[in-house]
């Protein structure tokens, strides 16, 4: 249909310019491919490892590395899925409460069904999916800002978890081989939990980078009007992304149950939303949406885990760790905004 269009090129057209890059331009392209943000993260991670490693030789031992890796799996899973939500231009601050509710659900269903771990896990994931769809529906059909909707969810889902559990830990699951495998199993020397995180990260990475679904998610976060006019069904995508967020948060809740041996309504899941958003922001996700990636998020998760572990090993008060986390989130966003060159006038866009 368009064969009549001219296909010859003129000097200065596309392609000609690319044929003679300067060395500086080549270096810039190379840096851009590696990702400036990721290089910064690798540098920061190296710095943290060097500092704490020199303060305490055991810090860099294989045992402690495994401790760090296991400690970050739950927050890491949430960070991975938070990355998808943020790229979509939204936010899910109810992930921690969802994980808590899923944790309680998995343990209670496990107990009620006579130690059927598959049913327990299945029920938790199903609850996660339902909550995700509910979040999405409130946002889309109730026209509630995503931050406010999931802030409400943060309170409400935590409340539900406390109501059904009476506020206390539920059941004991470590008499079941599947839960034991999840919490203590190892494959090729790495804990099963770490494998699960890597698997989820790899799957989401493929989804974002290599499928049309991922392209559409980036498009929605980048410019939702343009995405709509390009024929993308925004509602379907947003609900699906929140459902995915709910299910992954539920999976994190199941791992929480496996790690602690019982269903935890609040402890262990509270504050995970902050950690996941911090990791995503540090990892280079634009909080306005449309930009980000799993690689950066995983590096940020590793950085946060290494930092937290190092501070603990050094015996630094856990309250300070909260301060550090808040400071890091603000710093990450400030760095991001500096790069966009937005002028410091009024509320940020």
């Amino acid at each position: 249909m368009t064969t009549a269009l001219s296909v010859d090129r003129e000097p200065g057209d596309l392609g000609d310019l690319g044929d003679r890059p300067t060395p500086a331009a080549t270096a810039r392209t190379w840096l851009a491919r590696a990702g400036g943000q990721n290089l910064g993260l690798i540098g920061a991670l190296a710095l943290v490892l060097t500092v704490f490693g020199s303060l305490n030789p055991n810090y860099l031992g294989w045992d402690n590395i495994q401790v760090i890796a296991e400690a970050v799996t739950i927050s890491g899973l949430l960070a991975v899925v938070q990355t998808v939500v943020i790229i979509c231009g939204a936010l899910d601050i109810s992930v921690g409460s969802q994980a808590g509710l899923a944790s309680v659900t998995s343990a209670m269903v496990f107990t009620a069904t006579g130690s059927n771990s598959l049913l327990g896990i299945g029920a938790a994931i199903a609850i996660g999916a339902v909550i995700g769809v509910l979040n999405g529906a409130v946002i889309i059909y109730g026209r509630v800002n995503a931050t406010i909707a999931t802030l409400a969810g943060l309170a409400a889902y935590k409340g539900i978890a406390q109501l059904i559990s009476n506020g206390s830990a539920q059941g004991y699951v470590l008499n079941d081989s599947l839960f034991v495998f999840l919490s203590r199993g190892k494959i090729a020397g790495l804990p099963v939990m770490v494998w699960l995180l890597l698997l989820a990260a790899a799957a989401v990475n493929v989804l974002l980078k290599y499928t049309d679904i991922g392209r559409n998610i980036f498009a929605i976060g980048g410019n939702d009007t343009a995405a709509r006019l390009a024929g993308i069904n925004l509602n379907k995508y947003l609900i699906a992304v929140y459902a995915l967020s709910g299910m992954v948060a539920a999976a994190a809740g199941v791992l929480l149950t496996a790690r602690t041996g019982s269903g935890q309504p609040v402890s262990g899941s509270e504050g995970l939303e902050l950690q996941s958003i911090t990791a995503a922001a540090l990892g280079g996700c634009a909080l306005k949406g449309g930009r980000g990636g799993i690689g950066g998020t995983l590096l940020a998760v590793a950085l946060l885990g290494a930092l937290q572990n190092g501070l603990t090993v050094q015996g630094i008060n856990a309250f300070w760790q909260n301060v550090a986390q808040g400071a890091l989130l603000v710093a990450a966003v400030v760095i991001q905004q500096r790069r966009t060159g937005e002028r410091a006038v009024g509320l940020p866009a």
Binding site: T2, L14, D212, G222, A230, G231, G290
Partner: protein
Amino acid sequence: MTIPTAAASGAGLAAEAITKRFGPVQALRDVTLHFPPGQVTALMGENGAGKSTLLRILTGDHQPTEGRVLLDGQVLDLNAPTDARRAGIRIIPQEPEIIPHVSVAENVYAGSLPRRAGRRLDRSELRRRITADLERLGFDKVLDPELLGSQLTAAQRQLVEILRALTGDTAPRAIAFDEPTSSLSDHEVDALFALIGRLRDAGIAVIYVSHRMKEIFRLADRIAVLRDGTVAGTVDARTTDEGELVRLMVGRDLSTLFARQHVATDRVVLQVDNLTTDDVHDVSLEVRAGEVVALAGLIGAGRSELALALAGDTPVRSGTIRVDGSVVRLRGPRDAIRCGIGLAPEERKAQALFLQRTIRDNTSLVSLGRLRRWRFVNRGREKALAQDYANRLRVRAPSIEAEVRTLSGGNQQKVVLARWLARKPALLILDEPTRGVDIGAKAEIYQIIADLARAGTAILVISSELPEVLGLADRVLVMQNGRVTGHLDHTQATEEAILALAMADDLTPDLPHETTTAPRTGTDPAPGGTR
């Protein structure tokens, strides 16, 4: 004829040897220009030539890397827009900044509202001041100071910006208009020009940035042309002509801007009968394969709203849309795209482009369905597709991996076109395809439209530029207040005829019904129902 560059001295506003670098990019190189008082100096140049950067420097928004700004021979120290404002240098930005929820009066004096003790707003003083200013400037008939910002039309929003520029503690000495007519209709343009004439007569140095030749010849005393960040020439408006300006701007001749041909076939691609939406009433029209139909009319006539309805984005209340003869129900843009309808919308940055993504991403977006297996996008085929269309449309960029935000307006528009061309739509709707596009890219876009028509695509073009409408269209539909008020074929279409229909009094509500229904007798490709 080129006048030697005026020395940057004497009365008026002057840029002296200004160079501006943004990192490795040199936006301006040794620019010396003089804007004398009591004259309109037009500033022309292709997009990316440096016009905006120069305006920003003159108004204190950017600081020059080298060189200086002088007013009446005095060097100005401009560190912020407020410095320029205090010195009497004002700008009417292309997109007026209007606060939606406050009145016109508060919008005009925002930042220096009159107040009583205890910082309470002095409403009576505000009313007195706005009434006086409106009367002094002759706006009292056209602008109600009590209207809210959100209720204003595009022209009124611009008036608010003009009021801001003309009021204030210091008298204005120089005023820059940055493409002020891009969202105005022709009769609003007349009023604006009368005002600019009065500013000139009052001894103000007027800087007028525009792509529109006709306006510039009507208005300007002198014309300064920028090309690639340098002054290509300053000419006297009375002795120059369009050809010389184009040569100065692009460095070459544009023999023919329009490449119209008549290749319309009998196959009706789009047939709309009595379509009614919230903003469009009882519209009937048809577009044939290979035909270019233009929708003309004033701003707010409902043309873009009609386009959005045809693209499935706004719900249809009644009426039918047929594509290739079969009735379609469009529940969303997705349905329209499936039916072969593509829309390049009016606001390309807000409605079409993903500025942070690459040319490749932006081009392939609506074609991903054809480029994927399972759900995996075939990167090689995607690259080939994007490269192919970037070459055909001559998108000027370092590579298809360049982010779209780094491109000029014309090249961004080409990326939007590439997206739809790659999808090969049966009907392509182009809403203001050349707005904010430089003249070189404009000619290329006209050529693309002609080529598409020759290849059998049905094309519906919305344009507020009458020469464009006349140059492109096989047939012109004129809209007013959401209704089609006339059909003109290319032999009947003149600027006068279109304007008469666009502004016809809407006193006889029965009449439009008669004229909207084009006679569809036989296969006559040119329904001639004018009034």
